[in-house]
């Protein structure tokens, strides 16, 4: 008989009787049947499953957490800020330019994105759908909304599931910044889905910072319509375990995607980025750069898949993974991959793993800069390639500046 995983834990989670009911039921069934992903699956081969098991030992954060939307107008731009807290999700105080999705629209999004494939077990998403009772979904439909900030912070040893669905209507330009913080054993399960309609631009950044054994599992699902631009910058630092899954689909090609990632790890932290970009039409563009800085016995995983099917002629895609090892015991598993069927494409990928250069260090030292400061300058330089290109103005976002300072204080 097949073993059913963690039934007590799963049965203990409060059930949703609203819009999430159906999805939740399906996800719980799937979780019971499949449990923790097996090492035999390519996607989970390198993951230390002990970290995953810990998710199933945590009580669920069951305060009916909601999103608070605050619109802050200043001279430069108006900023809409979202914070998950304790009111009901659908009572969020929305403002001009942001329209709450109706139950029907949410159901439609959920069903479109929840087609379950028999051959593919999306654990990150399943654990979120099984446990999540909080979701906010909205449309941005006015040029007035330029910036959106989503803060998710957890400070107790609980599982904190959050889910956001954003539809960006045609011809808009929006910055979306997510700050995810965790401490004292908090474990996040975060899911964000963004639909970008024709001729719209979305600059999306996720700055995620953990400490004191915090963990993070997050999925970013993005659908791009034609002539849209999407930039994603993901920063992971300090999580005992973190796994980001990014899936970007250019629905009809003819769109631009820029993806950057930075992992900063020490001790025995394991930070993973699994990225998949698919071009479902011609003339697509992708530039992706993924970096890691690893000290002590930390472990970085990067799995990057670019899919260029036959229909995606004249796709231009590049993917580069650059890793900096500060310790001989740190470990990098990087695997940039291209799956190309179309014949008229320009695609390249590569990976480098290096240490700080002795010649660069000597040059700095010979100018009176001590070795510690010289190390720091070179590490910062490695990060700056990503941080300088953050699609969002640092100065506008006090939280981001604070988070970046934290990153630079390696």
């Amino acid at each position: 008989m097949k073993k059913i995983f963690y039934p007590e834990w799963i049965n203990s989670i409060p059930s949703n009787d609203g819009v999430l009911e159906e999805t939740q039921k399906l996800a719980r069934e799937e979780l019971k049947q499949n449990g923790i992903p097996k090492k035999s699956s390519e996607e989970w081969r390198l993951t230390n499953s002990a970290f995953i098991k810990e998710f199933f030992n945590l009580p669920l954060n069951s305060n009916n957490t909601k999103l608070k939307l605050n619109r802050i107008d200043n001279l430069r731009r108006s900023l809409v800020k979202l914070e998950f807290n304790n009111d009901s999700i659908f009572e969020a105080n929305l403002c001009n330019g942001i329209e709450k999705l109706s139950e029907e629209e949410i159901k439609l999004c959920l069903s479109e994105n929840s087609i379950r494939r028999k051959d593919f077990y999306d654990f990150n998403k399943t654990i979120n759908e099984a446990s999540n009772n909080r979701l906010i979904g909205f449309k941005i439909n006015s040029k007035e909304i330029k910036s959106l900030e989503i803060d998710i912070k957890a400070e107790v040893s609980e599982l904190v599931p959050t889910r956001v669905i954003i539809i960006v209507e045609e011809g808009l330009e929006v910055d979306i910044l997510e700050i995810i913080e965790g401490s004292r054993g908090a474990s996040h399960s975060h899911l964000i889905e963004i639909y970008i309609k024709d001729f719209s631009t979305v600059n999306h950044a996720i700055v995620s910072i953990g400490k004191d054994s915090a963990k993070l599992m997050a999925s970013i699902l993005v659908n791009q319509e034609k002539q849209s631009n999407y930039s994603l910058t993901c920063i992971q630092k300090g999580w005992t375990f973190s796994r980001l899954e990014q899936k970007v689909i250019q629905l009809n090609g003819n769109a631009k995607t820029n993806i950057q990632g930075l992992q900063i790890a020490n001790n025995q932290q394991e930070l993973a980025t699994h990225s998949r970009v698919r071009f479902n039409g011609p003339n697509g563009y992708l530039k992706q750069i993924q970096k890691s800085i690893l000290d002590d016995e930390s472990h970085s995983i990067f799995n990057g898949m670019i899919e260029v099917p036959k229909i995606a002629q004249r796709t231009e895609a590049s993917q580069l993974s650059k890793n900096l090892l500060l310790s001989s015991k740190a470990k990098v598993d990087t695997s940039p991959q291209l799956k190309i069927i179309a014949d008229d494409v320009k695609c390249n990928h590569g990976a480098t793993i290096s240490q700080l250069s002795n010649e660069e260090l000597f040059y700095l030292q010979s100018r009176g800069i001590n070795i510690k400061k010289a190390n720091q300058l070179l590490i910062n330089a490695f990060c700056n390639e990503i941080l300088d290109n953050l699609p969002i103005q640092e100065s506008t976002w006090s939280l981001l500046s604070k988070a970046l300072e934290n990153i630079k204080s390696q």
Binding site: S366, G368, L378, A381, E385
Partner: protein, 258 residues
């Protein structure tokens, strides 16, 4: 007449890299106000000598001393040597992408100022100081905003070295093939900078292959290096002879001038 103070004395220095001996007993005395030129073929040990003085960690000293202002340098870290006033102008200045030139210069200058008991400069004060010094090497301000030497031409890199020399106010500057890769105009700018920065209280050592730099900067002493030793010392005339006759005529170790 007051005797000139000794700034740097190298005593019977033996050093090498990865078990290979390169310097085989170098002796050299440099006093304040002096300009020395060290000439020699590729592989004669000129660059090694400069790196050993600056403290490159890959070189090992097997015996000998490097005395700078009455202190032995050999046990000091490279940054401490620099902060004491030893400057090495690199033959191939390193490109460091992502570190802004101006940030690098400010950190370096403030480290040296600490030793000189001068106050630390903030961003604005430092910008003023840099702008003054940019004129010495005729550099544009936008160089400061780029990564250290990143994408600089050969000439720009060498000018950036002289800019660092100007800002750090070293007591002794050892310039390793600062003239290589420069066209005649750039050579004149760099040479004028070096002349301007030299003074009675300082010393300058030029490592070069060619006499042409010495037309622009007049050395008091010219040394010829071969197989890790200084085999002959003379004045400017020696460099002219060398240019005319080539290194072949200076092969005889009997010429060794100790």
């Amino acid at each position: 007449m007051n005797q000139k103070k000794l700034i740097l004395e190298i005593k019977d220095l033996y050093a090498g890299i990865e078990g290979k001996d390169i310097l085989n007993g170098v002796n050299l005395k440099i006093h304040e106000g002096e300009i020395h030129a060290i000439m020699g073929r590729n592989g004669s040990g000129k660059s090694t000598l400069s790196k050993v003085i600056a403290g490159h960690p890959e070189y090992t000293i097997s015996s000998g001393e490097i005395i700078f202002k009455d202190k032995d340098l050999t046990q000091l870290e490279p940054e401490d040597r620099s902060n004491q006033g030893v400057f090495l102008g690199f033959q191939y200045p390193i490109e460091i992408a992502g570190v802004k030139n101006i940030d690098f210069l400010r950190v370096a200058v403030n480290a040296r100022r600490k030793i000189l008991l001068k106050n630390e400069l903030d961003t604005f004060e430092f910008e003023d100081l840099v702008e003054e010094n940019l004129r010495i090497v005729k550099m544009e301000k936008d160089f400061l905003e780029r990564g250290v030497n990143e994408g600089f031409s050969g000439g720009e890199k060498k000018r950036n070295e002289i800019l660092q020399m100007a800002l750090l106010e070293p007591i002794i500057s050892i310039l390793d093939e600062t003239d290589s890769g420069l066209d005649i105009d750039a050579l004149r700018i760099v040479a004028a900078g070096i002349n301007k920065l030299h003074s009675d209280q300082k010393a300058t050592v030029l490592i070069t292959h060619y006499q042409r730099l010495l037309n622009e900067i007049k050395p008091d002493f010219v040394h010829i290096m071969k197989d890790g030793e200084i085999i002959k010392t003379g004045n400017k005339q020696l460099a002219i002879e060398l240019e005319r006759e080539g290194y072949e005529n200076f092969q005889n170790p009997l010429d060794k001038n100790k």
